[in-house]
Symmetry: C3
Subunit: 654 residues, 3 copies
Amino acid sequence: MEHNIYIGAAYYPDHWPRERWPVDIRLMKEAGIKVLRLAELSWSFLEPKENQFDFTWLDNFIEMAEKEGIQIILSTPIEASPVWLRHKHPEVVRHDRFRRIHGDRGMHCHNNSTMTFYIKRIVYKMAEHYANNKAVIGWQIDNELRNVDCYCAECTEGFRKWLQVRYGTLERLNQEWGTCFWSQVYHNWEEVTPPSADQLTISISQKLDFARFGSDSTVNHLNRQVEIIKSFAPQHFVTHNMLGWYPNLNAYDLSRNLDFISWDSYPHVDGDNHIETFLHDHYRGVKQKAHWVMEQKNGYFNYSDYNLAIEPGLVRLWTYQDIARGANGVVYYRWRSNKYSGEQNPNGLLRHDGSPRRPYYEVKQLTNELSKFGNELVKTTVEAPIAIIYCYDQMWAFEAHKQYKNFDHREHLLTYYRALTGLGLTVDLVEPTTDLSKYKLVIAPSIAMVSDEIYENFNSYVVNGGCLIIGARSGMKTWSNTTVELPWPGLLAEMAGTIVDEFEVLPDHYSNTITYKGRDYPVKVWLDMLENQTAKTMATYTQKFYAGRTAISKNCHGAGTVYYVGVMGNTELARDFLEDVAEDLKLKVTNVPKEVYVTRRVNDSDCYTFYINVNREPTKVVIQETGIDIIRDKHVSGEVIIDGLDVLIVKTSY
Amino acid sequence: MEHNIYIGAAYYPDHWPRERWPVDIRLMKEAGIKVLRLAELSWSFLEPKENQFDFTWLDNFIEMAEKEGIQIILSTPIEASPVWLRHKHPEVVRHDRFRRIHGDRGMHCHNNSTMTFYIKRIVYKMAEHYANNKAVIGWQIDNELRNVDCYCAECTEGFRKWLQVRYGTLERLNQEWGTCFWSQVYHNWEEVTPPSADQLTISISQKLDFARFGSDSTVNHLNRQVEIIKSFAPQHFVTHNMLGWYPNLNAYDLSRNLDFISWDSYPHVDGDNHIETFLHDHYRGVKQKAHWVMEQKNGYFNYSDYNLAIEPGLVRLWTYQDIARGANGVVYYRWRSNKYSGEQNPNGLLRHDGSPRRPYYEVKQLTNELSKFGNELVKTTVEAPIAIIYCYDQMWAFEAHKQYKNFDHREHLLTYYRALTGLGLTVDLVEPTTDLSKYKLVIAPSIAMVSDEIYENFNSYVVNGGCLIIGARSGMKTWSNTTVELPWPGLLAEMAGTIVDEFEVLPDHYSNTITYKGRDYPVKVWLDMLENQTAKTMATYTQKFYAGRTAISKNCHGAGTVYYVGVMGNTELARDFLEDVAEDLKLKVTNVPKEVYVTRRVNDSDCYTFYINVNREPTKVVIQETGIDIIRDKHVSGEVIIDGLDVLIVKTSY
Amino acid sequence: MEHNIYIGAAYYPDHWPRERWPVDIRLMKEAGIKVLRLAELSWSFLEPKENQFDFTWLDNFIEMAEKEGIQIILSTPIEASPVWLRHKHPEVVRHDRFRRIHGDRGMHCHNNSTMTFYIKRIVYKMAEHYANNKAVIGWQIDNELRNVDCYCAECTEGFRKWLQVRYGTLERLNQEWGTCFWSQVYHNWEEVTPPSADQLTISISQKLDFARFGSDSTVNHLNRQVEIIKSFAPQHFVTHNMLGWYPNLNAYDLSRNLDFISWDSYPHVDGDNHIETFLHDHYRGVKQKAHWVMEQKNGYFNYSDYNLAIEPGLVRLWTYQDIARGANGVVYYRWRSNKYSGEQNPNGLLRHDGSPRRPYYEVKQLTNELSKFGNELVKTTVEAPIAIIYCYDQMWAFEAHKQYKNFDHREHLLTYYRALTGLGLTVDLVEPTTDLSKYKLVIAPSIAMVSDEIYENFNSYVVNGGCLIIGARSGMKTWSNTTVELPWPGLLAEMAGTIVDEFEVLPDHYSNTITYKGRDYPVKVWLDMLENQTAKTMATYTQKFYAGRTAISKNCHGAGTVYYVGVMGNTELARDFLEDVAEDLKLKVTNVPKEVYVTRRVNDSDCYTFYINVNREPTKVVIQETGIDIIRDKHVSGEVIIDGLDVLIVKTSY
């Protein structure tokens, strides 16, 4: 069966009386909702008492839905374990740095063997029961997983084993962590612990490794569930719904055994839309294939200092943006507004009283539109000629030693990212060991820790003609978060053709200025003073005792080019500099109006250019090639006005 | 014996050498101090070792004081238990959410059976000893009680029993709390606990009930003491001195078994005087009868970021304001300044060195003035034609889920309260189930949880001709803090004749504007977009996509009227709107100058109008009717100048 | 052997391969580095396993260094105990107020007997081994000691014993602490505890005594080590390197058994230079003899929100300033930049890669300069005719009851201190019981607690002709932090000839104004209204109800004078007032340009006047007497221009 973009909703048959089910299913059909996500918080109802399973209610609902052509995504209901389990085994949740037991939804220890036993059993039972249910198309494994940062006895033991695998010997660990510092040399594996509150002094190398261990533990926790599901139902897809911006869990590792990755999108009405597009570009980049949005906000926030009304058009716009950035499935959170506990704001397509809210009608319009061309879109992928390196280990390393409160790794990436968006260029946010050969430009602005593998990947990319931008802090560190004995940028110095002689890190109330191509730009945060070896100077400082020294350099290396940008924090600079680089690389730059977001989904024959107008007012764009406005089914070319919070998709040949 | 307004002081004979006692008593007499509060922090001296009681020193002092005509209020000395008790039973104090034992004055567990044993014994001994002492006129039970928020084993068990009484069955509890949410269904009473830190997820319904349980526990703790005192000395009054603004303890419940309620008033020299008048109007409203101020500040703060000098006249003004708002007793804190630990700033009528401070002479003047007319005032009550609903359960519900940091329930009430003060109108702050029939206007601006009982009370009030103002958030919730399945304002929708279609909650940096009677008013925080059913529109929005929609509506219901005010945060709007409503209701509005506070104490024949001038400069007021200035004993009428920080009381016939 | 100012560096032979040692030693010699501090963080390498000692590596290094004429300061390596010790004895570190075990470098309990055993053994072994090593000149005992604020069982027992020694009987303790307050009377020594979190109410007298006990415990911990070192090596000096600004440890007590005191200087590039000079003047004042800087910053901060580049000239300037304020030894931290954990910023004279950083060359220039005149300077001492009382007990008392967040004891001292610096006057910061007879002026602005001993010291100083300035809060308290029963300033009232009638403490947004010698000055924080007895009025308030009352008074007492300054927070007032006082006392005032710091090192025949120009621009100074610029070896007189960040030392006869 040829399918369309999947449009669905999260539903809780366990929360509403059975008499209501048919009403809801009818309303879903009318709105074009054809997929439901079920059961991710239903453990209490699926296993009401220990080892007593009850799938009847869920079977009944699925049967009713299937009859109306609705497909089902089941979730493993692990995030919210039943009260009986915790009452019997209080220790299965997170132990904090003081080894106190802590509650919080989903905060089960991912290494606890008791918990693992219960998890495996419920997942086994569900997989066995639903493997051959024809309504079921796939599974969401667990829900919005987090690195639980647990310090229990099993985590302590697990961390030791993880280190033994990583380092082999204690001597190697002592060397890599630099335990000679502050006299913390280990002589016995038993002495090695997580960075708990009572440790005399905690090493930032240890903190980094504990972050890695925590991420790995969560990946294992997911994979244990994946394995069971796949053993029963290899034909079902498995995915996971990531929290939007969640740096504590390595999304690359987590998604390796999944068919595709999903994420949960909760935009702020008055937020910076680049945050959402950035996350799309990352989660698409994770597997470099189509992703899903498993929870798309349609209503009020439940956890926010304020709650703006969602203006007419926004829910439809968000959904088109999901698709424009590569999503092939969008599931709304949630069908009907919840009445209980901490999530009582109207957050459903229906009100608490069961009547449709305004976004219900927007979804109806959208599914109607997609019925005309969604089946074409699913056969395309997003065109992205640029990669930004988005490396979890770097973030953990910076977090393990948060020296400067105004250095924000993500904000630093966003400076480049926003500039590229303004130039109409789409990026993938990828890991540093990805095959980079398909990208015309790779940006790794602050990749402090450079392993041999990363060095070789970058070097071979550049030597073979690639263009790489690195910058302040790059290459300073070993993969264990200690400083290299080489001149900075360490392993990257040769390809950059420059070394860092001195630097300073400015607080927000200070700045310096650089001159680049005859124009002055204020710069801030981290400023490197470069001593070029083979590179040539592109920009120089104008103030303080280091006025005249190099701030940005350019080096030819093999068939490629490396730029070292020793300064931070100026969006105009990023834009002007990247425009020059893009021109050199013959990338197709389009100057899009502010708050209009342009991406292309393409296949061998066709190109669908999305213009998402996040402005509240009508905005003019210039269409380069004549094409078809597939929403309104008419030809467009030249200057076109897009309404406020509206969308234009232009189909051309590719 | 005909009595006057009681003017007293807190005294600590246990802190000073006996040789000093006669000096102090002479100075008291000279100042007109005729009541002393004793012993509220003297357990160590009354029971110096376990089960060894020593009342001699107190007997001696009382005997000496009685000879000079001084009357005694005794306190049960529970707040500060002796060191020997805690040393023997470390567990009798508060256990926090992690079950750690915590210290802090008064933070004994109110459900601990060991502590209860010791409390009952000392209270029994004191009651038995002083029941027939002629100097003693009454008792202060404990001191500034707080809800101790304890999570010990006895509180856990107590909470379970409290829930069993409330809900009967676990099924009912599951339903009311909505434990289907996040899969937290209980199957066994043993699984139910207080909202401790290690609970997987805490329900806001559970938090609300735990707040109620904590308040009830404290009320029981007080009533256990009341019962013992009354069994020995039914002729003595019993009261309790509430902390001024303390939302965690239900003052209505606490005061039911008391003869009257008292509170402790510590105004800021540069604070908003409405806070003190608000508290007076509340504590008078609690039992709708005369209250006391059991601790009236006369000196420097001990817990404050700064300490302004108390200007000449202020202590006398505060005392007259206490009386103007209904107090029939005012006890200064304290007689002589304390030398020890955290309360060493000069806070007594005497200095540390035993000499009188400036306020001593103000008290002397005041008692001299009261000797002329205080006996008349005690026979009057405060005239208050308006009620504001001040409901502890609502505050706990908002606290259990503090969604929006700029929504402040008390501040919301104060918007209405301040507007009414400016119109010369006095209110009672009362509970929602009070008989409202005597009020011309009832304001319940954000009564989110509406029980059947509240609904019926409000409805019968309105149907019988009352005028009710409700507003944003009203009626959204069940009495268990979950959202109703009805259109909002839920049970109040029919009487309001309007429903809430959408809303938004603005942060401080956004606002919208409404038009009311041709004038524009900025509004903020929570804005409701109303869909009138039978109501008519009084004000509409002027901005954003909902411009033109209804913001304030008015509905006729039975013989009465209901206003729904869907906006917040504008004092001018509150004033203009309430002035119109008051005019409709033929309430007597007087435009009083800024920072002059007008109230009336009346009886069948006489009316005493108090003008309290909190301005530092002389201020002109206009007296409507000719009357007698009873302080200066002369006729006044028309325009009168009141000195800065001075008081005018005009007696007229009623 | 005649020696020079010692210029050294901290070195870690245990961090670098042996092959590197000769390279480093050669580079040291070239830079004129002649002293190394070793081993303060090397316990793991000196005792790698319990009771197995290894001094070979250290012997080898010292032997190699000695051959090149480098002298050694050894440290007892206590701050960073080995992992094996903590693994075997987890309890030897700090227990917090909840008795949780806490880690953090150096946070060992100073009363723990197990830890004491291990400390004594390693110190004994080192002392025995190095007592006769000719390269070793002295010892640094431990490193940057802190009061660890531990609540373990041994500290509890220790605190009780400390109190028994202090007060003798429990009755006396009850009286001094005022335990009648809040009914906390002790009847049994077992009931007395540190101020732990579970205590019902904590007394601020108890908190003060616990701060004293903590400081004393740390002093004992140091003295135990001193005793062992001195028993083996009486010819070696012993010192300790204090944290710069660290109020929780009594530096006077700590230094009594040391040959001299040292401190660690980490100036901010953009900080207030008065902070460093203040600390110099204090640590010089502690023993009233030459001190050392044991760690002088030369590179980037490791713990800071930002990191400015250290401008050319600054490291040399800091070192000259150390010497100008009395240091006879300056040891840079550190030789080569560290690679590991939390201190990875380039903080050495060498880079991570082993090449010299810019400051290396400044040190080389400096040692070259000192080779010409350093041997003369070591024979001089700093001229300081004024004392400011800097009393740890007062700081602890204020800390035990931090009433007003905008009252900062140190900032209050700095108001006077900065004014004196601007007048070219140098002060010693000394303890209140010091012999004051050598000072022309003594300033004790807020000495709240006045013991009999302090009273007698002050009184005899004044009676014999001294000039004393006291001020707001002075004399209010007993030595146990309770309020006196005397009119304030208590024991100082008679010598001040005035008493405090009232006061107010203003928040930052309020001020008042005083008139002093016809000029108006805004004043803030704490304002006393004085009632002169024998004193005469120097300044009066101009605002509020106390306008016209006395703010500053002057009293003749015996042959001397006492000023009471009842106001705070105005630097112009401090300067104008102190200029008048200095003129009266015939102190030599010189008006130095802003950011130029003038001090004199003198002996019987010569005077070396240091002008340290902290301005970044050349600055003109006026030399009163013709002398020799000993750095540039030429005569100077009259107007001289000093370059930005440069130093002038003028030698004249004395």
